[in-house]
Amino acid sequence: MTTDTSLERILSLRQEGSGEIVSVDEPVIKLVIVSLGDQWFAFHGAQIREILAEVPVFFLPGCPPSLEGVVNVRGDIESVIRLRPILGLPDMPPAVSSRILLGQASAMRSGIRVDRVEDVVDIVESTVQPPPATTDQLRPAMLGIFTFDGHVVHLLDLERILEDYRAGLR
């Protein structure tokens, strides 16, 4: 009779004290995947407090075009920035599928206009690869790259994007 089951092997290792039990579960991260045209991007889910659909955005004079205005989120006033021009993509008026992510970095919060929210997923952290060494202007704002649903997805650094935007660098 064979006793080579996982349980038996674990118990055996315990009795022998001959090795550590290694979890085969890899760490996963929650990501909010969005698209701008045919390009896909992601933010860490922990930094996205809410996804807003049909909420009026109020224009403010004296702001750059990439700062769409402000929204009233249950009594809190939040700015709304447009991700397209911030990432150097051609700006377009919001489509019906457009959404506003309410992003939270350590020092500030802001709405972020995207064309579309594609999915909110848990993915294995090790599938995110370092950003490619290109001279693309996206690179400073990228944490990594991975594929999802047949698309290359750029994982964005929200902290860096908001800080750069505040400093006028984007």
Binding site: P64, L67, S110
Partner: protein, 124 residues
């Protein structure tokens, strides 16, 4: 807590100042004090033609010219908000201190005390 605001428009934007910063209002054609259009003071483009009013700044003997409607209203402090950080960092208008969220949209609240030196430059 409530706050009294004098509200007006300039270049299509709705603006307001604390009523305590204003001592009165004159019709634009009856003024005898130096007058500076609010648009140039804070960095808005000139307003189109229309009736203009002069708000007399308290304790300064100066006037700013604004477009109507001019109103005096008492606003609940709950609708007054600081500028969101990205707006505060990137807005190019001078002297904007806060936002009041009216049902029709935000009203920019100015602190005219911050603009006195610009007023002096504009009238020198």
């Amino acid at each position: 807590m409530e706050i009294a605001l004098v509200s007006f428009t300039a270049a299509g934007a709705r603006l307001a100042v604390e009523a305590s910063q204003i001592s009165g209002m004159l019709e634009a054609d009856r003024r005898d004090l130096p007058v500076t259009p609010i648009e140039g003071l804070i960095g808005l483009p000139p307003s189109g033609k229309g009736r203009r009013h002069c708000l007399v700044l308290a304790a300064a003997g100066r006037c700013i010219e604004v477009s109507g409607p001019v109103g005096l209203e008492t606003v609940d402090g709950a609708v007054i908000h600081p500028l969101p950080p990205l707006v505060a960092a990137r807005m190019t208008l001078a002297g904007v201190r806060a936002l009041a969220m009216a049902p029709s949209g935000p009203v920019l609240i100015l602190d005219l005390r911050q603009l006195h030196h610009r007023y002096d430059q504009a009238n020198s």
